[in-house]
């Protein structure tokens, strides 16, 4: 982007230099000034209709919409001048005349842009004395509910469906103050990406049926995570209330998922709240599994796995750190690593580059392959008679008992004990799920991304990397790790494809693998 002409201007007294053609609104962001707006969204075509981002530009005859006005050399922009503030105060009053003041029962309260800007710039009272307009709530199909009374007609949802999802199901129907968001006759919001309209809606007009009345926004704790629904690796936020994940929302990353997340990913949060969790280490005593201390359980597991050929069945949803420790274990003892991969129909989001619900429905198959694990359909075919089987994180759906019966001893490291293992496992080591630990994942484009812990683990379950480090040490490997960052550092030092990567430097948006068998996305976006 060397040839882009740069333009210098002043916004709220702060000098900024930005590429020519940028909007005043985006330029202001670089100066740390947020110009209030509703219809503008960086991922959508500019509409310029809410008129909330009106600012005063010196020498302009009228106030200018910051979203639809390009920067100009030497411009002087006043965001908080009396004239601009008065105009925005007017817009807020207009938006509120028919808007129900039902914030106490509105899901959007606490994360509502109408609420926020009204508190920041609006009038304390309304001059509206007429009855408010009333319209019924409409089910838009999919996971979306339309509360027409709260709609401010910013048309973000309409533009998302027509320009990004490219399935123009939504429209503006009627005119004047009778206008509302209409849905095409006979169509529902069943597009796999339709749920994004709920996030895009700046007010409480489009709501998730799944999240409806579940929690108030201010009661939620939030942690950055990475969706494990497929190999795209969409950046997400896990929101919890009382240690229960109540929803996943997309976290913007223009290298991976823009501002979006698919329905499969969103609904994946339920898995994190399973009630049937393994929360104590178990060791087989006679016919039954009995609760054991961690140290005893680790020692028992090491005994069960030693002295035979080892087959590791690893989940492709395990972190890079966990997979690395397993790979080390396979170096310490003779054996093979395999993983199973669920596949589904690919569902691209047409308006976003290289973004799709991928057919590989696991988050880390890339790292599993890089670290030498082989994909297999049937575990039995990789098991020889008398082999020890270490299962880590795999749910074992669809695996027949005949496959498992070939193993001489089975150690299960997982979040919930599958029924087929209750009679077969020698040791069960309970681990945390992805929102209960921290670590890194590698997506299909070779982007290594960090996720952080969002909730506490049940019982005495331990982070996967922690359990595997102990187990590695117990079988005679070098397992002295006290932080996931240390595991990652060892991974980067051991494997060329991860070379040069630093845990902290990954930040929350990740970095591409320097050299790998997968195409690295090294293109830097300077927008």
């Amino acid at each position: 982007m060397a040839d882009v002409k740069m333009v210098s201007l002043t916004i709220e007294g702060r000098p900024v230099t930005v590429p020519d053609g940028m909007s005043i609104l985006e330029a202001a962001k670089t100066a740390g000034v947020l110009i209030p707006h509703y219809c503008y969204h960086p991922g959508l075509p500019v509409a310029g209709v809410c008129r909330m981002c009106l600012v005063e530009v010196e020498k302009f005859p009228k106030l200018a919409p910051a979203c639809a006005t390009s920067v100009g050399e030497g411009q002087v922009v006043h965001v908080h001048s009396p004239k601009a503030l008065e105009a925005r105060k007017g817009v807020l009053e207009f938006l509120l005349i028919n808007h129900p003041l039902d914030c106490p029962i509105c899901d959007q309260a606490g994360e509502c842009e109408l609420q926020d800007y009204t508190f920041a710039e609006g009038r304390a009272d309304s001059r509206y004395r007429e009855p408010k307009r009333f319209n019924p709530v409409e089910d838009f199909g999919g996971d979306v509910l339309y509360v027409q009374n709260r709609c401010i007609l910013c048309t973000r949802c309409v533009r998302f469906m027509s320009d990004v999802a490219q399935e123009p199901v939504l429209n503006v129907s009627e005119r004047g103050d009778r206008a509302f968001i209409g849905k095409a006759e006979g169509h529902d919001l069943t597009n796999p990406w339709a749920g994004n309209v709920v996030d895009l809606c700046p007010v409480g007009a489009l709501l998730s049926k799944d999240f409806l009345n579940r929690a108030r926004a201010w009661e939620l704790d939030r942690a950055p995570t990475v969706c494990t629904g497929c190999s795209q690796g969409c950046n997400a936020v896990a929101e919890t209330r009382d240690n229960v994940v109540v929803r996943l929302k997309p976290r913007a990353n223009d290298q991976v998922n823009q501002y979006y997340m698919c329905e499969v990913g969103r609904q994946g949060y339920r898995e994190f709240n399973r009630r049937d969790r393994a929360d104590q280490p178990l060791v087989r005593r006679g016919n039954a599994l009995a609760i054991a201390e961690w140290d005893d359980a680790i020692a028992s597991a090491a005994r069960a796995l030693s002295g035979r050929r080892l087959v590791v069945l690893a989940s492709p949803n395990l972190s890079n750190e966990a997979l690395f420790l397993l790979e080390r274990m396979l170096v310490a003892v003779d054996g093979a690593g395999v993983f199973r991969l669920e596949r589904g129909v690919e569902a691209p989001l047409p308006g976003a580059p290289d973004l799709a619900l991928r057919n590989e429905r696991a988050a880390n198959a890339t790292a599993a392959r890089l670290l030498g694990f082989t994909e297999t359909e049937a575990v039995g075919s990789s098991l020889g008679d008398g082999d020890a089987l270490l299962i880590v994180g795999d749910q074992l759906d669809g695996i027949g008992s005949a496959d498992l019966d070939r193993a001489s001893s089975i150690v299960y490291v997982g979040t919930a004990l599958p029924a087929s293992l209750e009679a077969r496992a020698v040791v069960v080591l309970p681990i945390t799920n992805i929102v209960e630990e921290e670590g890194t994942l590698t997506n299909l484009r070779g982007r290594v991304q960090r996720f952080l812990q969002a909730k506490a683990a049940p019982g005495v379950a331990r982070p996967t990397w922690y359990v595997l480090a102990d187990l590695l040490a117990a079988v005679g490997g070098d397992g002295r790790f006290f932080m996931p960052a240390e595991v990652f550092a060892a991974l980067a030092a051991t494997h060329a494809s991860f070379a040069g990567l630093d845990y902290e430097a990954l930040g929350l948006r990740g970095l591409p693998l320097v050299e790998s068998g997968t195409p690295a996305d090294t293109a830097e976006v300077t927008a």
């Binding site: 209709v49 909330m52 938006l95 007429e130």
Partner: protein, 442 residues
């Protein structure tokens, strides 16, 4: 001839010369009256030269804004790109019905102007966008276009000139906002008729994203006369002391007036003479109270103001209003101005495209207050609120529909405030104001 009344001797009938003459509707009749001579001449003339003639003539847009036509056309360069000409025949401004008569009586005059303009702006294709309710004008224009194609006036070799000119007639579905030029283009493209953000202006990216010129029916119908007779000829119309307003203009007169109808006068005509001499003044025993001189979007004049006004762009601005589309609405002393203004705001509230917040909500809010005052339920605070809403609605939206709604309210409040106050004073009902327990009141 004049229609529905005979031409007044003080009129200058150029466009309206054949109003009421059914023969002028046909191709042969139009040719017998000198029609298509200008087009033939133009098709064999370099567009640049034609642009210069129109520029020199001083013709300004007759749709309401008064933008110099020649300058608008000069934005279109011979750049080899696809250009389009749009004819705005979506005449929907309340009180305006001049284009309707042009299309009813002289459709060939319009077709000629459209074809001529298309050639002048380097366009092969022109669209005439006709208001949906105009059933007769639509039929007349369609018939004229058909005749013109059959006679080889339009088509791949227009009038044997080797130039290709296509004219398509498109019928709107009856939205006022589709008369706004960019909304018209959206509508023509099959989209919702919402005005577009400018820039880009139509001359850069208009219809189907291509450079487009859009002109009003009256403007386009005038051009052939200028090409035929020259810029100097056209300049004789107008008042000598104002070179900025040149030519004749059609005025549609309606309301409480003796002889409503269309009148064509040279710009600079005294408004008082127009109202009392040409239009016959108020009805028997009545007195004019107020006049909207240029379609419902322009400020209302009191009788005194109207009588002192001059009918051209600058004269109307001097009188505190605008020439607009030339739709003159006359109110006599029987009229309740609150009721009249409430009726206007209801129209705008109904027609707002709902894009911009101020317009969508403001037009409806103003209407509710106006109708409450009209119905004797107004309060003193309403008048301040009306001013505040109007302020908040003006100059802040994509198009000017919002301003158009605020204008009659603002000017009405300024000039007829006593009528509002009388209605409010007569409000004897106990009104429970929902906002009585406001924080500021505590």
């Amino acid at each position: 001839m004049g229609y529905p009344h005979p031409s007044h001797p003080r009129e200058t009938p150029i466009l309206s010369k054949y109003f009421g003459d059914p023969e002028a509707r046909t191709l042969s009749g139009w040719r017998a009256r000198g029609g298509y001579e200008a087009l033939e001449k133009a098709l064999n003339t370099d567009p640049q030269e034609l642009q210069t003639v129109v520029k020199d003539s001083g013709l300004r847009g007759r749709g309401g804004a008064g933008f110099p036509t020649g300058m608008k056309w000069s934005f279109m360069k011979p750049d080899g790109k696809t250009h389009y000409l749009c004819c705005n025949a979506d005449e929907s401004e309340p009180g305006t019905f001049k284009d309707r008569e042009i299309m009813r009586w002289t459709p060939h005059g319009l077709v000629e102007g459209v074809a001529l303009a298309a050639h002048t702006i380097y366009a092969q294709t022109a669209y005439i966008y006709i208001r949906g309710e105009f059933t007769e004008p639509y039929a007349r224009v369609c018939a004229a276009v058909e005749e013109a194609y059959a006679a080889g006036i339009l088509g791949p070799n227009a009038m044997g000139s080797g130039k290709h000119v296509d004219v398509h007639v498109h019928r709107g579905a009856g939205a006022y906002i589709c008369g706004e030029e960019t909304a018209l283009m959206n509508s023509l493209e099959g989209r919702r008729g919402n005005p577009r953000i400018k820039p880009p202006f139509p001359a850069v990216a208009g219809l189907f994203g291509k450079p487009t010129t859009i002109n009003n029916v009256e403007t386009l119908a005038t051009v052939p006369y200028i090409i035929k007779n020259g810029a100097e000829w056209y300049k004789q119309f107008g008042r000598p002391d104002n070179p900025k307003s040149i030519g004749t203009k059609l005025f549609s007169v309606c309301g409480n007036i003796s002889r409503p109808g269309n009148y064509e006068v040279a710009l600079g005509f005294p408004f008082k003479d127009f109202l009392y001499d040409l239009c016959g003044g108020p009805l028997e025993g009545r007195e004019i109270k107020a006049v909207i001189p240029g379609g419902s979007s322009v400020p209302i004049l009191t009788r005194e103001e109207a009588e002192g006004a001059v009918m051209d762009y600058e004269g109307m601005v001097a009188a505190g209003t605008m020439l607009g589309s030339g739709g003159v609405i006359v109110f006599d002393d029987r009229q309740d101005m609150v009721r009249q203004i409430a009726r206007l705001t209801r129209f705008y509230a109904h027609e707002s495209c709902a894009q911009c917040t101020q317009c969508r909500e403001g037009t409806a809010w103003i209407t509710r207050i106006m109708e409450r005052i009209r119905d004797g339920q107004g309060t003193a605070e309403d008048l301040d609120t009306l001013v505040a809403i109007s302020d908040g609605m003006s100059g802040k939206t994509i198009c000017v529909l919002s301003d158009s709604c605020a204008t009659p309210v603002m000017s009405g409040l300024k000039k007829f405030r006593h009528e509002f106050e009388a209605k409010i004073a007569a409000n004897k009902s106990v009104v429970t104001v929902p906002g009585a327990f406001r924080a500021s009141a505590a």
